[in-house]
Subunit: 327 residues, 2 copies
Amino acid sequence: MSDSLSKSSTNRSVVLLAGGVGGAKMAEGLAGLGNVDLTVIGNVADDDEFHGLWVSPDIDTLTYSLSGRINRQQGWGVADEALRGLSVLKELGEETWMTLGDRDLGLHIYRSSRLRKGHARQAIADDISRAFGACCRIVLSTEDVVQTRVKTEAGWMSFQEYFVREHCAPEVLELSYRGLDVAAPNPAALDAIANADVIVIAPSNPLVSIEPILSIAGMRTAIAGAKAARIAVCPFVNGKAIKGPADRMMVSLGFEATVGAVARRYAGIADTLLINTSDRAFCGDVKSAGLCAVACNIVMTSLEDKVALARTVLATALSSEACGVVP
Amino acid sequence: MSDSLSKSSTNRSVVLLAGGVGGAKMAEGLAGLGNVDLTVIGNVADDDEFHGLWVSPDIDTLTYSLSGRINRQQGWGVADEALRGLSVLKELGEETWMTLGDRDLGLHIYRSSRLRKGHARQAIADDISRAFGACCRIVLSTEDVVQTRVKTEAGWMSFQEYFVREHCAPEVLELSYRGLDVAAPNPAALDAIANADVIVIAPSNPLVSIEPILSIAGMRTAIAGAKAARIAVCPFVNGKAIKGPADRMMVSLGFEATVGAVARRYAGIADTLLINTSDRAFCGDVKSAGLCAVACNIVMTSLEDKVALARTVLATALSSEACGVVP
């Protein structure tokens, strides 16, 4: 409560680069601080079309989370959801491994209808956020279509095919990002980066959530040249992803699922890497990559965890203290 | 039961021209006879797009009815329905006066997706009927888009705007059928008509359900020249429509809501008009229009009513008896 009471002209402009579930948790924490003007730059590279509707899983998870609609048990999807529409699509012979609830379909119908009318993706996202009462701005990384493709032994597939249909079971042999070479950064994202006091990289999958944001032309340069303090939160604890396949993906693609590997990926993009207390022995690896390492509890379960981590993120980014362990 | 036991090589080929609710009741009755190969030619002129999805209310009412999915209380829509998707569309600022349930949206998503892929409307309808287990073939009047437009004091509007949004309250000053001048008849409809033993015109709205079928180029000629016995069921009882605005519409457009006016509309298209027993005093008006009049109970409430009326329809059409009252 004291945080929200302290909301004032001293609000910090914070930009968060985020994927879906992990990104949304970090966003909720930052939004919960109250003294922050938060802009979340969301990943669109897991977008896909289902049944002729455009689905934007990471953006929707952010929107649902930041408007208090998220299904808390799942971490994705909407609360009070049902599957009547999908059950009919299944009867009609459609592939229905992508679980799209009835409320969720309402959102996809709306977005798809507006996209077909030629409306800009960011304008649509803003209208959705406003209607849902999201507590901060969600900015798409690009207005263009960028789609992560995953190569496994069975060949190339879409990210959702790998993630949802195949339950991340196959080994990932290669990643590509369709459309990335021609995608332009969303001007709203570049604006937010240029004006940020703090840029935070969420503990999202570095390869399929953060990489497709950073690799949009101009984005890495904008972050590298930003006046903001820049801090990343490590998605790995003890060599394992907090959620999802990021650890196995890093390993199968020749990286490591370690704080050092994350630091090397974010060198030049982040000044500091926040790692879990249990990984504090690896602070040296982070420093070798040129980042400052700070250790604290980075696992977010409750809203209190999220806000506490957000507070540490902000304090660490804004402090000029030496690297170390936050009690 | 005896009807279905008598299913054999002596099955009659019956074609029903039908709108929505009234047409579906007649179709259920005919299908319930068991000794009939039924093809329903459905009206597409109340089709419209909502939220970027193509909705086909009459065809869907037929499909839901003939596959046992209809909401029996309403006479339209699906049983076990909910409105989660529509509630989200409403939150997002969409007009949601067209009540589209979650299961219903599933169907519209499917149809719209296939239409965008360029699939033929009849092929889509056949696949839906097959998947839902519809008990007879539902044939669209045309593959083309035909849309009834309604002129009221407030100006021209779509049929669904008049019917659902305005609850049929405004006086209808004029009707037009967008696309009718260039619409081609569905070959499957012409085939069914050419091969029918009996052609039945359902007690649907003559102006907005039957007229847009009959007025498709070639359709009236095909029915006029068919070898089939042709019989219409009057949609009016005692000068009132059994359901819907057909009576007021007939009157405001300069016709009458009478058995005589119906007979005059169907002259050359039907040989016999089945009217309600309570209207038997007006048999002369039917005969003056050149049709044979037969009176019986034409109000369908229960499935028994529907099957009983269907039995009379068939027996009357196939008999060479004089006009009269069926006990």
